[in-house]
């Protein structure tokens, strides 16, 4: 954790200096995820890009006042989601993420006694640089992430990619800790299901060769 503090301190100094390479490093680390989280709230990619841009303007205007009470990423994403919610309100949209559990995909994988319907088997095709059935695994992961319900997607990006801690994510998205835990779990389980289908399809296509 203190390493993260040190990294943050360096990044903050870089931002305050306003020098391009320092800014660019922070921008590249967060901007893609910022656009995705904003579009989970706004359901609109063009507005999400604008919100991310406005957030950077605001980050640069206010960086001198950053006190390190949260992580730098946590601070940036707080600004982002506040702006996204304001925009959603202005557009007459609901600002709260839908956390209802409308899929039973986890329990569907088990029989009445809680045993696997399809016993998992070790994957041997699935690694980040692998091409399966003509496509990079990572591009299939991207597609699966885009298809997650917005609340799951936002939590997965903040926890699983930006590595914010659970309490920060609760504040940023306005969710309880229980919500965040369940959403993250569902998101990961559903990606695992997608990858498992890819693996099994691959094995089947090899058998028929």
């Amino acid at each position: 954790l203190s390493k993260q503090k040190d990294d943050d301190e360096l990044a903050v100094q870089g931002l305050i200096s306003g020098e391009r390479p320092a800014f660019e490093a922070v921008y590249r680390r967060h901007n893609g995820s910022m656009v995705r989280v904003a579009s989970a709230i706004l359901h609109n990619c063009a507005s999400a890009e604008e919100i991310a841009q406005e957030t950077w303007m605001s980050v640069m205007r206010n960086i001198g006042g950053f006190e390190g009470r949260s992580s730098l990423a946590g601070w940036i994403f707080t600004i982002l989601t506040n702006k996204a919610k304001t925009r959603a309100k202005r557009d007459g949209r609901s600002v709260s993420l839908d956390t209802s559990a409308n899929d039973d995909s986890i329990d569907d994988a088990f029989d009445g006694r809680g045993r696997w319907k399809d016993m998992p088997e070790l994957w041997d095709e699935i690694t980040p640089d692998r091409v399966v059935n003509g496509r990079q695994i990572l591009s299939q992961v991207s597609e699966a992430i885009e298809q997650l319900p917005p609340a799951q997607r936002a939590v997965l990006i903040l926890r699983g990619q930006q590595e914010l801690d659970a309490a920060e994510v609760c504040d940023i998205l306005g969710l309880t800790e229980g919500n965040v835990r369940v959403l993250l779990h569902r998101a990961r389980f559903s990606l695992r299901q997608t990858l498992d289908r890819i693996e099994r399809r691959k094995n089947k296509s090899e058998e028929t060769l």
Binding site: R28, G32, I106, R113, L156, H185, R188
Partner: protein, 79 residues
Amino acid sequence: MKIMLSCRDLVHQADALLDGELSSWKKLQVRLHLSMCSGCSAFMDQMRTTRRLVKAEAQVSASDDAKIDDILSAFHTKK
């Protein structure tokens, strides 16, 4: 208190286990189940891979020069 977890119970504890958030009693139950269930052991391995892939997918945005110019020039004119 039951000792044996079902596979479904185990799956619901998977994230907490990987994040090191389980109490020692829960951890013991999970370990016991994993030692006897090759399916769930494979599942845990798949979850580790899934997490790695999600992390690897994090979109490092292509540096958008025009946007970065706008942000920085707004910053410098204000100064």
